[in-house]
Symmetry: C2
DNA sequence: TCTATATGGTCAAGTTACTTGACTGTTCTG
DNA sequence: CAGAACAGTCAAGTAACTTGACCATATAGA
């Protein structure tokens, strides 16, 4: 159970720091959940239902999240080529800028880890984590 | 950012599996957050304010959580020896049984990891995590 | 000691990020 | 070309928090 707490502590700390870094770069109106949505949208966009599956929430919740990021100018809805029911959600330039800010912030934080334990160790840690739960839920379950 | 997602995936997966294991052992009316509260209460109890600090929530939220676990029979409030303002929250036998169930479930899950990557690797992983964010937030920040 | 401030806890109300349920319009399947 | 499956939306409900106001006790300073 201590291992579980350690994992949560690291995940929570990292998420918080990245969010702080993103806010420090001028994007103060978004939450970490939006960042994980951006990650799914970045390579070519996605539908609301795909986003829902990625985040582990209902399609209604995903749709609400899309409403919000569209309203705030981070994404836009386009007609889906090849499926008239669906709408493709794609990032705007602002959305891509925010995603870059998140990447920068993540590099900063993980760089701090590298000072603590060495670059190779960080890579090894990453590799092990990726093998344990490759399709685990992104959102918290509690 | 992929590292962040991997961490969250593992933390979420582990938390979920432990909770499922606890439910399978007959404790179906609690959430992971309660488990983290139990971990703080187990060695001699704690006040609501201490619990709030441990979980990273307001004292009101902690107090509500205590109300709930008291109502469900997992803990009880006692007068605090040496501070008439405070009340010491201690686990009941049911609370301790639930904590043991959580430990068992955790052992099961982490045992699965050991099959995947070896016992030594799991220990190494644990050690590194503990060094990265020894006082990170237990609760999700998003 | 007495007073001022800090602290532990509770009560009440408000907020937010979800959920469930019902519905429309479009696309697959046999 | 009917009927099931699916993308999306609208509306309402809910759970787990939050903020704010308050009381009782404790601690520190004059």
């Amino acid at each position: 159970m201590a291992l579980s707490a350690a994992l949560l502590a690291v995940a929570g700390d990292l998420t918080q720091r990245i969010n702080d870094g993103v806010a420090a770069r001028g994007f103060t109106d978004i939450r970490p959940a939006h960042g994980f949505a951006f990650a799914r949208l970045a390579p070519g966009g996605a539908t609301a239902t795909e986003l829902a599956a990625h985040l582990g929430v209902t399609k209604q919740a995903a749709s609400q999240l899309v409403d919000e990021i569209v309203r705030k100018g981070y994404a836009e809805r386009r007609p889906h080529p090849g499926d008239a029911r669906a709408r493709l959600v794609v990032l705007t330039e602002r959305g891509r800028a925010c995603t870059r800010a998140a990447e920068e912030a993540a590099v900063d934080v993980v760089g701090g880890w590298a000072e603590l334990m060495g670059e190779g160790e960080v890579r090894a840690l990453w590799g092990r984590l990726a093998r344990i739960a490759p399709h685990g839920p992104i959102k918290p379950a509690w």
